[in-house]
């Protein structure tokens, strides 16, 4: 019940494409769902987060879609750029963060 499953494991898109990363959770007690971006040798940095009473949240080029009944949420990156190439982690939380396995995104010029 504590797991967060993330897919795909890796993703390659062309510049300007819209990569989509999906996550699923089981524990309905989770009440906060952040996405983190991590570059090699760095700690995770918060990108965007959503609470379960909202179905969508957009910040700049990043959008979270949240489906409470399906217990799924996803990250969309609009107009992706080579600088977006990084590893992305979804997480679910009440107090401590439970992370997905990560998606390595590569945006080709």
């Amino acid at each position: 019940q504590q797991q967060v499953k993330q897919s795909p494991q890796s993703l390659i898109v062309q510049k300007g494409g819209i990569p989509i990363i999906n996550c699923a959770y089981e524990n309905t007690a989770f009440d906060y769902f952040p996405w983190y971006q991590q570059f090699p040798g760095k700690g995770p940095a918060l990108l965007i987060a959503i609470r379960p009473d909202v179905s969508e949240k957009k910040e700049g080029r990043f959008t979270i879609s949240f489906n409470k009944s399906a217990k799924q949420f996803s990250l969309h990156i609009m107009d992706s750029q080579p600088g977006d190439s990084a590893t992305y982690f979804c997480a679910a939380s009440r107090r401590k963060l439970i992370f997905g396995q990560g998606t390595e995104l590569s945006v080709k010029p």
Partner: protein
């Protein structure tokens, strides 16, 4: 302002040795978290402090791992009798208030290698 800082950035030790990893949270943040990240994996929760006390230590893998935060600011993660399986990046995060839905800000991590 300054973010979460962790020292050392890299630590190489031999199997069986004792190590201490330090975390300086963002000033004023009352909550502090330790996570461990193995290669190619997401971070895994170890322990959460609210002030000086450990509010949740359910992620500590065994009694070789111990963490303290004596004055409610800096925290030290201590690992006794290190094993090769302890090799990982140890991440610290802090939050202004902790509790449900609190945003956590991560440091750069300490890469621990046990030979």
């Amino acid at each position: 302002g300054a973010g979460v800082s962790q020292t050392p950035s890299n630590k190489v030790t031999e199997k069986g040795k004792y190590v201490e990893l330090r975390c300086d949270p963002i000033s004023g943040h009352t909550a502090l978290y330790w996570y461990r990240q193995s290669l190619g994996q997401g971070p895994e929760f170890l322990i959460y402090f609210q002030g000086t006390g450990a509010a949740d230590d359910s992620g500590l893998p065994n009694d070789r791992f111990f963490a303290v935060r004596p004055e409610g600011s800096v925290s030290t993660l201590k690992i006794q009798r290190t094993e090769r399986g302890d090799s990982a990046v140890y991440l610290c995060a802090s939050s202004p208030r902790g509790g449900r839905g609190a945003t956590q800000y991560f440091g750069p991590g300490t890469r621990l290698t046990v030979l």
